[in-house]
Amino acid sequence: MGISGDRIFNVVTAVVAATAAVILAITAYSLASGSVPILQKEGLSFFTGIKWNPNPEHEVFEALPYLEGTLVTSAIALIIGVPLSLGIAIFLAEMSPTAVRVPISYLVELLAAVPSVIYGLWGLFVFRFYVRDYVEVPLNKYLGWIPTFSGTPYGLDVLTAGLILAIMIIPTVSSISREVLRAVPNPIREGAYSIGATRWEVVSKWVLSYGRSGIFGAAILGLGRAVGETMAVTMVIGNTVGPAAVPTSLLKGSQTMASLIAANVRDASDPLSFSAYIGVGLMLMFLGLAINIIAQVMVTRLFKVRGGAVE
């Protein structure tokens, strides 16, 4: 009796542990089957074209601009967010006085606790005007002749969305990078100090190169977060569709895959346009899956080096 009780317990928990796998499988299946109509109609041009017209008379749905919008805003997030996060991680792991270490890391991690919709609200009514007045207007005035900075500074555009994403990935990237730096064995630091290196030299020449792959993994995880982020981006990116959504300038409204779905799917009236949103969801799912699996593999492999201290 008892042995079978153990057996049952093992099997039951094993089955329940597959919940996440089942959810992912259901997601993949339902999105794939929901995308069939749009893929049949548009074929390959669903991925390569830029036209978008939900009017039933001249229906056309092509999703390339939203993929581009996602990639461009996420790239801005990484370009701004990763160096900042790395700076925070280095400071907290290697340079800061011990007394402030814990309070500061709590503060930075609180950034992750703020709900996405509140980032959006703040972005829409507050941050947008800072970006417009102090970043976009000067950029446009002095560098407006470059297409990347052309357009009318308005604050609801690619740049604002990218900057909000940069803020939102900081807690993820900085806390994982900090763990990575802490995982660097102390003898490496001691050796470097003993030959007379300064703190910064120890970090830049030894510690960073030792933790390189883990920091890369942290950045990829940040990328995954930026790609999937929905509400905050939806509220500040301007929500343009079709050719207008191609992110040719930072000072131009655009659309990410997630924001396209969030802003419009409730208005989808006919089956084909609904299928188009599902198709975009499918693209987003594949992108998110690929990024996350790469990041998980990199970060887990790294923590395995620690000899089972974390995992």
């Binding site: 153990d6 049952i8 999105l31 503060l107 300064t198 929905t230 799917v265 998110g288």
Partner: protein, 288 residues
């Protein structure tokens, strides 16, 4: 000697650059909190918390249905998600070395970082729509709770796993030496020792879920009335914020800030309480 001065200068420089990075990261947090308090506080009153939303202008009404809806959604989400999450966590901690468990753990981590709008879309297709092959629950509290539990489960599973792994093996061995079976040991000894860690993980997951908006867009739809039954759309705090923020009426926008203040107070206090409560313990046992 002068090269040493340059090296020292560089060292100082990067020290201050580090401080600058932290300031740059904490500034938005400060600005968000400040704006939410300054813009949200004037609308806040007992009436605001308990009445239905008004049409706008002078009569903005309140966020009663949204608060009630969020509480119902979170309650249902916990009912669905906590048992599944904790059982997954038990498996990953107690039987976690098998290849099967490793795959499940990775998939669980992947789901943790999954785009939440995709979760909403899936639940819409599989649970909400009334077509063959789906549950056909319509826009309803249960549909919303299923979507939210897809987000809650992987977080609870992960934190439960960590909490259970922290239970010293000696306790398991002592229990088994008394002839207690493994499943009995796990449920009565291991879980009760890991209780604080489990609760911590659940509270953090609830804080996360309470602010989720994207999965609700397609599953509960929002409502201006109080709970109308399990087959009807329901309001939710994050959804109310999103819809009110996009309204052209300044009064309704003010309602969004009021709702944001309530939401952020709940979410941040959950986070801060959890962190203060677990300060010593987690720091010493997990990280070293």
């Amino acid at each position: 000697m002068s090269s040493y001065a340059i090296r020292r200068f560089k060292d100082r420089l990067f020290f201050f650059l580090g401080i600058a990075c932290i300031v740059l990261a904490v500034l938005p947090l400060g600005s968000i909190l400040l704006e939410v308090i300054v813009k949200g506080l004037p609308t806040l009153s007992l009436k605001f918390l308990m009445s239905v939303p008004g049409p706008g202008g002078k009569n903005i009404g309140g966020i009663g249905p949204a608060i009630q809806g969020s509480l119902i959604l979170i309650g249902l989400t916990c009912l669905i998600g906590i048992p599944l999450g904790v059982l997954s966590g038990i498996y990953l901690a107690e039987y976690g070395d098998a290849p099967y468990a490793r795959v499940m753990r990775t998939l669980n981590d992947v789901l943790t970082e999954f785009p939440s709008i995709v979760v909403g879309l899936t639940v819409f297709l599989v649970v909400v729509l009334k077509v063959s092959g789906s549950l056909g629950l319509g826009f309803s509290p249960l549909s919303g709770a299923i979507a939210l539990s897809f987000i809650l489960i992987p977080i609870v599973a992960r934190t439960a796993e960590e909490a259970i792994k922290l239970v010293p093996n000696a306790l398991r061995e002592a229990s088994m030496a008394l002839g207690v079976r493994k499943w009995r040991t796990t449920i009565s000894i291991v879980l009760s020792v890991a209780k604080a860690g489990l609760v911590t993980g659940i509270l953090l997951a609830v804080a996360r879920v309470a602010g989720e908006t994207a999965p609700l867009l397609l599953t509960v739809l929002g409502n201006t009335h109080f709970f109308e039954g399990f087959n009807e759309p329901i309001a939710a705090l994050p959804l109310q914020i999103y819809q009110d923020a996009l309204a052209p009426d300044p009064g309704i926008q003010a309602r969004a800030w009021g709702a944001a203040l309530v939401l952020i107070l709940v979410v941040l206090s959950l986070n801060i309480v959890v962190r203060l409560a677990t300060r010593g313990r987690m720091g010493s046992s997990v990280r070293k």
